[in-house]
């Protein structure tokens, strides 16, 4: 025992009680049992604390354990003091116990509200019941959500995760059956049943999007083109949101919506928009007040103004479209439009750069669903080139007509004027001849006669040519009403005039059943007269024993009448096939004849003035054949 703890001046406590054995026993037993109990209680507390981690005693338990243990030690010291007077030690022990107790009491005071708030077991039972109710409600909600998911008209809900790299559906609503034509249960078992429907061209994009969503925890959003088992293609808008569970597993919740109709609609709308925007014709839309709402690229190309310029300057179509139009005309256009009718016109307009151009404009009202005029649609075409070409053509055709008229008039007048001196030349030559013939033989001069012969001969030729020119010119215009004429009747009327020629040449004329033809009767007569004359002149067979034969046939088909005039002569050399129709071109194939060769030229002029065709060919059976066609249309 250290002296400091057992001073000599003090006496053991046993002496105070005079070592009364029953008192000593009671002290020893009582205090030892108390100490034992006090050392046991902290163990129980510590055990409790360890098991109820949910309660925070803010280290109060350590103070409790501390003050109980110090109390226990004090009681042990009481036993020791019976024999040894360690009162100093006990005093220090009491002070330590007091300190720990005071702090514990203070802490206990502070923690009182926490202790009060600790639920009672009754409260806990109630809470548990409440919890069960909430659980039931939650299940109810889930059922509700699932049935909602199942009954979404064009969508299905899903939840999936990745097992390894393979998607695994945790939930998928029954809409997938309607949209993708696969059973929800089957997809739950094998996600590939659904994913295999994705258009192979989208697979790379799909995988990349999925990987990004996993890496960045970002939403996955994509329009998928999917082919159902029945071969039908659908467009699905798929939106998934990932979330990470404590376990590290990532789960995506999402909704897929069938946007096939919308997609097709959008594609269609887009196509229409492109069609309008890229249309080569200018398209411009204004509201009912004439304020610009839209114009396409072609408008800019045509006018030089961009939409922004036109819009910013608030140029109305009045300025954009009809800069050269009078107010009155513009008013008339407006009136017509307000009446709901389309207006068409060709206007000259000024580009932004000041140059002039022609445009064809068509303005029509656009109606809303209620049938009211909602806006105006302008269609614009730059027709400058056509207009210029038209003008050019008009100028040229006017010039051509004038030249042609001049030429005809010149030919007409000169033929007429040539005729008079030609006629007099002939008459005076004859007069001279008569006088010469009456001269006595002695005065006859051979030179005089020969000269006179030549004068007469050329006068006659000149006369014939002038007459032919007149006939040729006259052949270009109808001399009577243009109508369907019966060619049979015309030939019958012509026959007596030809009979002398036919008999002289012993020519047989065979006329088939001929069609009607759209040609005035005088010129139709001229046609046949010229062609028969030609055949009679040039169509004699090379063998004088063979009977000359002229055959006329024809038919009407596909809006035109066709005639063939055939002889059985020697035909004509190929190089003359075209030349025979030239004016004053006479081919000396049958020896001499009196004509100037104008007949076929006149025939061609008649046919061509009716937009028909005439040609000559050699008949395979020998002889020449002239064919001409005249259309019905005037």
């Amino acid at each position: 025992m250290p002296d400091a703890l057992t001073p000599i001046t003090l006496i053991p406590h046993g002496y105070c009680i005079s070592w009364q054995p029953e008192l000593v026993a009671a002290f020893v037993i009582g205090n030892l049992l108390i100490a034992l109990a006090y050392f046991t209680i902290p163990l129980v507390i510590l055990r409790f604390i360890r098991q109820r981690r949910d309660i925070d005693f803010q280290h109060l338990h350590w103070l409790f354990a501390g003050f109980i243990i110090t109390c226990g030690i004090t009681h042990l010291l009481h036993v020791v003091e019976l024999w040894y007077p360690v009162y100093y030690l006990e005093a220090w022990m009491d002070i330590a116990t007091a300190l720990v107790s005071i702090i514990a009491a203070f802490m206990l005071w502070r923690i009182l509200p926490v202790l009060v708030s600790l639920p009672s077991s009754k409260q806990l039972i109630e809470a548990n019941q409440e919890l069960l109710k909430i659980g039931a409600e939650l299940r109810d909600r889930e059922t509700q959500l699932r049935s909602l998911g199942d009954s979404l008209p064009d969508s299905f809900l899903y939840q999936y995760t990745l097992e390894g790299d393979i998607p695994k559906f945790l939930y998928i609503s029954s809409g997938v059956e309607r949209i993708n034509a696969v059973k929800a249960e089957s997809v739950m078992l094998d996600a590939m049943l659904l994913l295999a429907q994705i258009d192979s061209r989208q697979l790379d994009e799909y995988a990349a999007g999925q990987a990004l969503s996993l890496r960045e925890s970002s939403d996955f959003d994509m329009a998928l083109h999917m082919r159902r088992p029945d071969g039908e293609w659908r467009w699905l808008q798929v939106r998934s949101r990932p979330r990470k569970k404590d376990s590290g597993q990532v789960i995506w919740d999402g909704i897929a919506t069938d946007i096939t109709d919308r997609h097709l609609f959008e594609t269609e709308i887009n196509r229409l928009a492109q069609a309008v925007e890229q249309n080569p014709a200018g398209v411009l839309i204004t509201d009912v007040n004439g304020s610009l709402e839209y114009m396409n690229a072609a408008c800019t190309r045509i006018s030089g103004y961009s939409f922004a310029e036109a819009y910013a300057k608030n140029r109305t179509p009045r300025e954009l479209i009809s800069s050269e139009m009078s107010d009155a005309d513009y008013g008339a256009v407006q009136t017509q439009l307000q009446a709901g009718r389309t207006w068409n016109g060709i206007l000259r307009n000024r580009r932004k750069d000041g140059s002039l151009y022609w445009e064809q404009v068509s303005v029509s009202p656009l109606f809303d669903n209620e049938g009211k005029v909602a806006s105006y649609l302008y269609l614009r075409l730059d027709v400058t080139e056509q207009k210029n070409a038209e003008n050019e053509l008009r100028l040229r055709s006017t010039a051509l007509e004038r030249a042609s008229a001049d030429l005809t008039r010149f030919a007409d007048v000169s033929a007429h004027h040539l005729m008079e001196p030609t006629r007099r030349l002939t008459s005076y030559a004859q007069q001279l001849r008569a006088r010469v013939d009456h001269l006595p033989d002695a005065m006859r001069d051979e030179e005089l006669r020969t000269s006179l012969n030549y004068i007469e001969q050329d006068a006659a030729r000149l006369r014939g040519m002038v007459r032919d020119v007149q006939l040729y010119l006259a052949a270009g215009t109808p001399r009577a009403e243009l109508r369907m004429e019966d060619a049979n009747a015309v030939l019958e009327a012509l026959r007596p005039r030809l009979s002398a020629q036919l008999q002289a040449g012993k020519v047989e004329l065979e006329v088939g059943i001929l069609p009607e033809v759209m040609l005035d009767r005088p010129r139709l007569t001229d046609m046949f007269a010229a062609l028969l004359d030609n055949a009679l002149r040039h169509g004699a067979p090379p063998d004088p024993d063979v009977t000359a034969r002229i055959r006329i046939s024809g038919e009407h088909e596909e809006g035109l009448s066709r005639f063939r005039i055939r002889d059985n002569g020697r035909g004509i050399p190929p190089e003359y096939l075209e030349r025979v129709f030239e004016i004053f071109e006479r081919l000396n194939v049958t020896g001499s004849d009196g004509g100037t060769g104008i007949g076929l030229s006149i025939a061609r002029r008649i046919v061509e003035s009716r937009h028909g065709r005439i040609w000559i060919e050699n008949d395979p059976d020998g002889g020449a054949m002239v064919v001409f066609e005249v259309p019905d249309s005037v």
Binding site: E420, R423, R424, S427, Y428, Q430, Q431
Partner: protein, 151 residues
């Protein structure tokens, strides 16, 4: 004025013709036809009107023609204008006018008849034909003009 007088005759013909060569041919034809007549010749419509109206006393004593032979294409006053002027004068309108021309254009023929020409002859090229034509023409009109007039 040229007077081509063969034999004294009461049948007077006025030829309106600017071309002397043609006028001469008409003279030949009439002479060869053997029809007795007096042929007066003027060279245009103005002169012809002056002849008919006896203007300025130049044609005093010359009888009015029984027949007028008229060319169409003439300077100053052409045949058509002359014809219209004659037919507009009441005292002259009864004189028969026969158009004698080179032109055979239908338009001209129609125009002449519309102006009340009494006949239209295209000058034949052949002298014999011309002579024959003139003989028939003159015989016809001489006979007509000699018929007793209705009162």
């Amino acid at each position: 004025m040229t007077m081509l007088k063969d034999t004294p005759s009461p049948f007077d013909v006025l030829l309106v013709e600017d071309e002397l060569a043609d006028a001469r041919l008409v003279g030949f034809a009439i002479r060869q036809s053997g029809i007795a007549c007096t042929l007066h010749h003027v060279t245009d419509g103005h002169e012809a009107l002056a002849f008919l109206k006896r203007e300025a006393g130049r044609y005093d004593g010359v009888p009015q023609p029984d027949l007028i032979l008229l060319d169409l294409n003439m300077p100053r006053m052409n045949g058509g204008e002359f014809l219209a002027a004659v037919k507009a004068q009441e005292n002259l309108a009864s004189i028969p006018v026969v158009v004698l021309t080179t032109s055979a254009v239908e338009r001209d023929v129609e125009h002449a008849y519309r102006l009340h020409a009494s006949g239209y002859i295209t000058k034949p090229v052949d002298m014999d034909e011309f002579t024959t034509a003139m003989r028939h023409l003159l015989e016809y009109w001489r006979m007509l003009t000699r018929l007793p007039k209705k009162e």
